[in-house]
């Protein structure tokens, strides 16, 4: 039964990746801008030795880590309340609230955040109302961190909720029965059993941040891996081989990340 889906994967996914990888070893003619099919390591050489591209890569990874941690911290108590405290009706309402943003356009939501974070936006207006100092986060990494954390939050809440909801009541009763007070039970039983859910959610938040190029374009002012690739594919430079080479960076990072997540049992939680 594994045959057809595997063939599908090979043709449409792995084949595309292979073409991408092969094209990373090509280059373009500096004068004509035409693609040269000669094997060269120039692109990788540039990426490995240019401090600009290092910086961009580390900035992106660092942002992905920050967003993932932020979402985990916000999602856990929320998911815990949904799964183990809220009465059924409340749970349904919260579910709708979590999913509702996903039904609206992603672009519309990012633009909405632009309006909120602008110098004369809703946030500064509210801060002024309550007498707090005005912020100037618009088009900074802080703005990106906030917007990224906001848009990917549902992808963290749902797997964590699923993991928490699956813990049988008898596990918690057993822990209390054996002498575990509430904090002990939480730390030794609930958190470890929710960990696969957190790992699964982090795959989404981490990889989505790593690959996104729209948010950095709209609410940031510095380059992220996604922007660089985007500019080289469709921008003025039109250097497809370099875009392909730089795209291997997030691919390698994700491969490492998935290996770690697998160890935490993320795939059993999905």
């Amino acid at each position: 039964m594994l045959g057809p889906p595997l063939a599908w994967m090979l043709i449409f996914y792995l084949a595309a990746l292979a073409v991408l990888f092969v094209s990373a070893f090509w280059s373009i003619d500096a004068f004509t801008g035409k693609l040269t099919h000669a094997w060269t390591l120039t692109n990788f050489d540039t990426i490995l030795h240019s401090s600009t591209y290092h910086q961009i890569a580390f900035r992106t990874i660092w942002m992905a880590v920050a967003v993932t941690l932020t979402d985990a911290l916000i999602a856990f108590p929320f998911a815990y309340y949904m799964a183990r405290v809220a009465p059924p009706r409340m749970r349904t309402i919260l579910f709708v609230l979590v999913l509702l943003p996903l039904w609206s356009s992603y672009l519309a939501r990012i633009y909405a955040w632009r309006l909120i974070l602008n110098q004369d936006g809703a946030l500064n207006w509210s801060l002024a109302k309550v007498g707090l100092p005005e912020q100037s986060w618009a088009f900074t990494n802080t703005a990106m961190w906030i917007v990224f954390s906001y848009i990917w939050l549902p992808f963290m809440i749902l797997p964590v909720y699923a993991a928490l909801e699956r813990i049988p009541d008898s596990f918690i009763e057993a822990s209390r029965d054996l002498g575990g007070r509430n904090w002990t039970t939480f730390r030794r039983v609930i958190v470890p059993l929710a960990l696969p859910g957190l790992a699964a959610g982090s795959i989404f938040t981490f990889s989505l941040t790593l690959g996104d190029y729209i948010t950095p374009t709209l609410v940031g002012n510095v380059d992220f891996i996604g922007n660089v690739i985007y500019r080289n594919v469709l921008g003025l430079t039109n250097n497809l081989p370099f875009a392909a080479a730089y795209a291997t960076v997030p691919l390698i990072v994700m491969a490492v990340y998935l290996t770690l997540a697998k160890r935490l049992g993320a795939f059993e939680a999905l």
């Binding site: 049988p168 008898s170 596990f171 009763e173 057993a174 822990s175 209390r176 029965d177 054996l178 002498g179 575990g180 007070r181 002990t184 030794r188 039983v189 470890p192 059993l193």
Partner: protein
């Protein structure tokens, strides 16, 4: 350890028997909305006893167990453990441990970590923890499985580990919620014997076993005493033989063993099927009737006899000489049933069954 509360009880104020009680329920009532789960239950279980709460599902036996464990709080009444009122104490403040029906072994811990859990949260030093875990794994006869994860164990092994995880804490009272319910018949019978062996083995520290089951045979084989639950109330408390031979109510007569209830002269009484002698000649004392149905069970045959003066009795006969063919051919035959008057017991009308 058998009389632990004696030390701090004043001899004049507390008579000795009260101190030797491990569990005392006094007028316990528990409702869920309109449903009365447990209705004014009184119970006294002396230290070291194997006590069974027997009843059909929804009879309140599991709720009673959960009240003793502290997972539920009663609406009315008091719960005492070893002389101390624990009605309002949390489960982690009670010297009881529970073996859950689904075992509730923590999947993210190894067997040894599971068993050590109670000692660990009570900050027992590592060396002692290790020693006690090894010791109890020997008692349940699974000494080499410490490094496995619960998913790698069979049902019977999980059952033993769940037992070890509770026993390692040497609680005053061990609560068992249908612990053998998930096992197949053969394994269940093995574990019944195992459980009794383990209870004897830990008897020097004096652990009281409170066992919940809906299986009357299990209750009769294992218990020192048992309480028969029906609709949130206790219908009868007594030793297995007492409850089986002289059921107090019609419900008990039916639930423990086969319901053999006759009404004669406005009085109801019961007689156990193996106490009835069935004769194929109609001359003599006893009740006359006709065999309505025959069930061949191998070791014995069960006959259902319709009596001329009304009512039905089940009769059990060992297949000493009869073959299955002969037994089955007796259907429809006229018979005479005899029993000794001392084997009949008059029962209360109660039991609302």
């Amino acid at each position: 350890m058998a009389t632990p509360a004696l030390a701090d009880s004043e001899p004049a104020a507390h008579p000795v028997p009260a101190a030797e009680l491990d569990v005392r329920l006094d007028g316990i009532r528990k409702t869920y909305g309109d449903v009365v789960a447990v209705d004014r239950v009184d119970l006294e279980i002396p230290a070291g006893e194997f006590f069974t709460l027997l009843g059909p599902s929804g009879s309140g036996k599991t709720t009673t167990l959960r009240l003793i464990a502290g997972f539920e709080r009663p609406d009315e009444g008091h719960i005492e453990l070893a002389g101390a009122d624990v009605t309002n104490r949390a489960p982690y403040e009670r010297d009881v441990n529970t073996v859950f029906q689904d075992y509730a072994l923590f999947p993210h811990m190894t067997v040894a970590e599971n068993v050590a859990y109670g000692l660990r949260v009570k900050r027992v030093p590592r060396a002692e923890r290790k020693r006690r875990v090894e010791e109890i794994l020997k008692v349940v006869r699974l000494p080499e499985l410490g490094d496995r994860k619960p998913v790698q164990l069979s049902g019977g092994q999980r059952q033993r580990i769940a037992l070890a995880r509770s026993l390692v804490n040497t609680p005053k009272v061990l609560l068992l919620d249908e612990p053998l319910g998930a096992l197949d018949l053969k394994l269940r019978q093995e574990m019944q014997i195992e459980l009794k062996r383990i209870q004897r083995e830990v008897s020097d520290v004096g652990i009281t076993f409170v066992y919940v089951t809906h299986d009357q045979e299990e209750a009769l084989t294992m218990s020192d005493r048992l309480a028969v639950f029906n609709k949130g109330r206790i219908e009868q408390i007594g030793a297995p033989a007492e409850v089986y031979e002289c059921p107090a109510t019609e419900f008990v007569a039916g639930f423990v063993g086969v319901s053999n209830v006759l009404e004669r002269d406005g009085k109801k009484f019961t007689v156990r099927p193996e106490k009835i002698r069935m004769q194929f000649d109609e001359a003599g004392d006893g009740e006359l009737g006709r065999i309505r149905d025959v069930v061949y069970v191998g070791m014995f045959t069960r006959y259902i006899v319709e009596l001329d003066s009304g009512g039905e009795l089940t009769v059990v006969r060992q297949n000493l000489e009869t073959s299955s063919q002969e037994a089955l051919e007796s259907r429809g035959k006229r018979v005479r049933l005899e029993w000794r008057p001392e084997h009949t017991f008059e029962i209360e009308r109660g039991g609302n069954e």
